[in-house]
Amino acid sequence: MTIQETQVQDEVVPPAKDTPFRRTLREFAASRVAVVGAVVLLLIIFAAVFAPWIAPQNPYDLNEIRVEHSRLEPGAAGRADPESQSLPVPISGEGESGRETLELSGSVPFESAEASWEWVAPERVAVSLDLQPEQNLKTLEQELRVEGLPRGAELSVGEKHDFRNFWLVAPDEITAFEVQLPEGHEGGFELEIRAQQAEGEIEQVYWLGTDGQGRDMFSAILYGLRISISVGVFSGALALTIGLVVGLTAAYAGGRIDALIMRIVDLQLSFPAILVALLLLAILGRGPDKVILALVIAQWAYYARTARSAGLVERSKEYIEAARCLALSRWRIVLRHMLPNCIPPMIVVGTVQVANAIALEATLSFLGLGMPQTEPSLGLLISNGFDYLLSGRYWISVFPGIALLVTIVAINLVGDRLREVLNPRMRRDE
């Protein structure tokens, strides 16, 4: 028990530009934790809204996802398919020797190549290759493939594939080799040499790793946030509107209507929200629209109860009596007088309930009842990664979990501060 500032500040006339909104903002900013929460929340919302432009990958586009990149660790580089080149060597008829500049396809690894050949024996030809730049031979990952050999021909280097008709030759042996043709072979033939690079170009770095389907976790989290937040906000806004209308109707009408509405609300609130949502989704099936519907049905009652109690408080105030005395219409009194003054507590409940809606949606998705696999929300991401958790691939589950946690904590920090600022009981004046 202390003296409140009321006594001192009672007659203070604040500057003319001091609107209720500005005052709320100023008081909000007085708490550093809440400001941090608000900044984090704004960043998260920004990231979610602009996810398509920020995210390195569209995790829903199967063309952009590479299954080969699945389950990569955080920080792992995602490389493109290594490029390959084929060098067609047209070896002309027996007894002649020749030289040819090869037509290269692709740009890697060689810029130009020349081949020369010489028939050293009736069925034996020596081939030498001049590949530029030469050092690129060293970046080749594996043996080069020599195809197009006549059936039964043998190379002086490398090894033949176990059952297919091509030879694998080490890069350092490819520059000079001989071909032993089978007996009775006549005429020329065309060799085709394929060179493949060791590693593809780095396409992107998976800072948060990838999931089982090869999705970039960072992108998946951004898109997941987008879904989680929009589901939370949409369902929150819908439930708030419904709750506000129902609650204010109950507060203003009073009597039987009030009793009836509030009994329904009580009934609704006596079931856990998760149970209601689970049941509904079990009936309705998956999908964002159905999740939103389930969340609205599970949560409208909270808003209705708050709106009613706020409405009752406002209704008993003298300015409502004054408005009635001025013979203003009911609608005008409810919409212009009661409603705006009921908004602050609704905002407080709204922030907390949006956080709850996000958590609830995550829970539903985690249980496999919420969003479909094609549109993974944070909950679904966590669920997907859950199977890998014990195999040490923590990142698939943990990073979406952290994103969810930070989002909910940030919303709650903002909500708590709003409660302090907007709660009439904690207010210093008015």
Partner: protein, 339 residues
């Protein structure tokens, strides 16, 4: 004063508030819990006439029903029983146009200047809202009209864009008065309208009330617990105790010769700004709960002159001198020996 026509008349008006039992309580009663519906007779068969241009002071302590009576007059409560006549016509029988007129004709000034203003509207909006909603002045002139009203109650029209919290208590009350004046009322019901104001501001607002009465020919029902204020303003004073009128008289006569023991006690107990040590001779006992008022005369448990009849029979309000009414058995029965 008697020549003036009655503006409003209440005939045996009662107002009861009943708190109905909810489901849980009804169930509990089914199991034998002693829970009953609670009824408060906030106003109990009150007759009151206010003439045009008259200032009637309504005095009483908490629970006496003075605020409820004021709200009945202002049309905020419907009486549970009895008739409400406007210019001699029962309100149910009023023509449509007269009923619409009555809806604005009686305005109320409230006790708490902050609570009676919508905190989300600016002063100009508060004053102009009803004017606009009822199209009392053309839209183009509305701004000027609001400025005129603000000036009339002593507010700078430049403050029209300010919110209620940016005004001082006295200024807020002026906004409330301007809001009522803007719809051109015939009568103002002032419910403890200066009680929440600082002492040095009270006189300013009371002066404003008196000026307005002269300028607009207003009629007042001035509800207050402050006898000094009521004495200064009123032509006639009505004293209420636990829902009933106990005494009613022209101001000068009431203060010079109070008849009812309760009125006498009130006048005795009121703090006075006089030099010299004062001996307090307070009347004993507490104000009974209006939910469970004593039988007979409500005042008898605290009355120094109470006798047997007071405990069983409710005294009627009788005229003891021209225009002076009192509800006390002492007026019709010789005073018993012991007092």
């Amino acid at each position: 004063m008697t020549a003036a026509e009655p503006l409003i008349t209440l005939e045996t008006v009662s107002k009861r508030f009943t708190r109905k039992l909810d489901v849980a309580e009804r169930v509990a009663r089914g199991f034998g819990a002693r829970i009953q519906e609670q009824t408060v007779h906030a106003v109990d068969r009150v007759n009151l006439t206010v003439h045009k241009g008259e200032v009637v002071g309504l005095v009483g302590e908490s629970g006496c029903g003075k605020s409820t009576l004021g709200r009945i007059v202002a049309g905020l409560h419907k009486p549970s029983e009895g008739r409400f006549l406007y210019k001699g016509v029962p309100v149910e029988q009023l023509q449509r146009r007269d009923a619409a007129h009555l809806a604005l004709a009686i305005q109320m000034i409230f006790q708490d200047p902050m609570a009676s203003l919508n905190p989300r509207l600016k002063a100009g909006q508060i004053i102009g809202e009803a004017v606009g909603a009822h199209k009392l002045v053309p839209r183009a002139e509305q701004k000027d009209y609001v400025a005129q009203m603000m000036q009339r109650v002593g507010l700078d029209p430049d403050y029209r864009a300010r919110y209620p919290h940016q005004f001082s208590g006295g200024q807020r009350q002026r906004i409330g008065i301007a809001r009522a004046l803007a719809v051109k009322p015939e009568m103002l019901v002032c419910d403890e309208s200066v009680a929440a104001l600082d002492v040095s501001i009270q006189a300013q607002v009371l002066n404003l009330f008196m000026e307005l009465q002269q300028d607009f020919g207003l009629t007042y029902l001035f509800i207050s617990h402050d006898l000094g204020v009521v004495e200064h303003l009123s032509d006639r004073v009505v004293i209420m105790y636990l829902g009933r009128v106990v005494e009613q008289a022209p101001t000068a006569e009431l203060f010079a010769a109070p008849n009812h023991p309760y009125t006498q006690a009130l006048l005795e107990d009121v703090p006075r700004l006089e030099a010299g040590k004062r001996r307090f001779h307070p009347i004993k006992g507490e104000i009974p709960s209006p939910m469970d008022p004593p039988p007979g005369c409500h005042f008898h448990p605290r009355c120094p002159h109470a006798f047997d009849r007071c405990r069983v029979e409710q005294p009627a309000l009788e005229e003891i001198a021209p225009g002076h009414f009192s509800a006390c058995h002492l007026n019709s029965t010789p005073r018993p020996e012991q007092s």
